[in-house]
Symmetry: C2
Subunit: 329 residues, 2 copies
């Protein structure tokens, strides 16, 4: 019988108030190796030196790449279903009614449908107790842990052991957390060279800043993490060949923060008031896009950059989890 694991952690580990978990009602197949996917349609970027900027500018299209990945996953899911009658599944428990979380869950559900992955959502009120939430977690982790999630199904990859394996050289995590993985995947798919480049990560959160810094270092970039206590963030950001903005501060990174020719990945998803917008507000990143696109060689827009890639990576991790549990190579 299928195993279904619905999970949300009430520990400070979790932010936003969502956790995901893979389940597989039937059986599964092959593997998609996203990192070995060849560069897309000749779209290749070399980081320009600050001394020789050219006028070329690339808008990194997260929607297009996410669709391409989702299409690959869909083929795999169909083969799995046809061959061994297993369809991977993804369960989400949403606690509270944060607007950005709700929007993420909607997008996740739509993406699951596109990929043929089963999707289950449980919405619980903000004041739910840990016990209320735990009721929805099947097959919990059997080891003593601060969270009840079985690491093999923790497709978010937020378990401390997974984070340790991610941070350690020569080790491999069970799952690379979705947003950081989405950032690196975009850099790979746009052929951005990372080895020996200076990378600056703005923000040191557990879900983006810290893991993406480790992933960049694993790619042999030289990484600096800046944060709220950094005294001269603008100056340090300007040292970056690759700049990852994950501070959660709308339009914080201005054109003057960016080295000419740098590649900029904007992880921010911020709603700001805008009386001229249809709903009185609009979505912006951590980077002032209008200024950045005059200086950078490439940048991800918001929306349409890292956001859809996060969802695509979640589907990919879900597929991987299903394959492992059913021991399909």
């Amino acid at each position: 019988m299928a195993s279904l694991m619905l999970t949300v952690s009430t520990s400070p580990l979790v932010h936003p108030s969502i956790r995901h978990n893979a389940f597989m009602p039937r059986r599964c197949i092959d593997q998609i190796r996203l990192h070995t996917t060849p560069p897309i349609r000749g779209c290749s970027l070399s980081i320009r030196s600050s001394s020789s900027p050219d006028t070329g500018f690339t808008r990194i299209d997260g929607n297009k790449e996410a669709k391409s990945i989702t299409d690959e996953i869909k083929i795999e899911v169909s083969r799995m279903d046809a061959s061994i009658h297993v369809v991977p599944g993804l369960a989400v428990i949403l606690v509270g009614d944060r607007q950005d979380s709700a929007s993420y869950v909607r997008n996740k559900k739509k993406a699951c449908e596109s990929a043929g992955i089963k999707s289950v959502d449980v919405c619980l009120p903000e004041d739910s107790s840990e016990e209320d939430v735990l009721k929805y977690i099947w097959n919990p982790c059997s080891v003593a842990s601060t969270i009840a999630i079985n690491p093999k199904k923790d497709v978010d990859g937020f378990h401390p052991q997974n984070m340790g394996l991610l941070a350690m050289r020569g080790r491999e995590p069970d799952f690379v957390p979705c947003t950081p993985r989405g950032c690196i995947e975009l850099l790979h798919r746009y052929n951005v060279e990372m080895e020996g480049k200076r990378a600056v990560v703005i923000g040191r959160s557990n879900i983006v800043g810290m893991p993406v810094a480790h992933l960049l270092q694993n790619e042999d970039a030289t990484v600096t993490t800046i944060h709220s206590k950094t005294k001269n963030p603008e100056e340090i950001a300007r040292e970056a060949d690759i700049l990852i903005a994950a501070a959660g501060q709308p339009n914080m990174v201005r054109g003057s923060w960016i080295k000419p020719g740098a590649v900029v990945i904007d992880v921010g998803i911020n709603h700001i008031e805008d009386p001229s917008a249809p709903r009185g507000r609009r979505l912006v990143g951590d980077v002032c896009y209008e200024e950045a696109c005059k200086v950078a060689s490439a940048i991800t827009p918001v929306p349409g950059g890292v956001g859809p890639m996060t969802i695509a990576m979640l589907l990919s991790n879900t597929l991987t989890s299903a394959k492992r549990i059913h021991e399909f190579e």
Copy 2:
């Protein structure tokens, strides 16, 4: 009856080929909070700006600080023994005959004697199998893991879950690994301000570079890690207010790598040939001390800097482990 855990991992996690583990033959007491220890004898350093170097220079005395810590531990161990008849213990399995490892084990044994901690060593030949080693591990970890060490007794703190907790904001590891903790402890004891300072870590090893970078970031420093693939290490090192050298390359860091007034922690322990030395070789760090002391405001010597602090932190972690297992606050 006492629990005794002798442990060495043959996994790539372990380097050098030593693992430690705490055991407590009887029962235990209070707690030493090293991080809240007031600065020693008015020895206080502020990081000088590069524009106003003065001629003051401080040799950071690891031997003295380690002795002070060991003395505090000894008092605790005696109180524990007198009150509840428990003496903490430390077991080491040494596989192979690496000279630096053997010397470390000798120093560890001597330090245990000074602190009144029981010490057990097991020396196994280089070609010992995992099974040979596992025979000496009592009370192994009950959870599925790549190593058999119970994290509560893993006083080295190298378990992936411990590393994850160390890396994550808002979480606490069971044990901070000894060498990185020794580095930070020296900075604390010499009142070196870390918040908002630029720190550069040379080396990205699992046992020093990676964890010390996280510890510096937890102290609100802005951290850059440089490594073998970094293109301009000298230039980046020169940005550092606090420079931690942990590359394992004798005398790699020259005077020109150091910002005037910086504080330098030299983690390197390298034996180099020297026909004029009594045994034909001598011990040097990763930093060229003679050059560095003309530029830096403070530096740890080798020997007598980080080395003895590593041992002191190992004793401290052993005491902490004993207290936790016997539920003494």
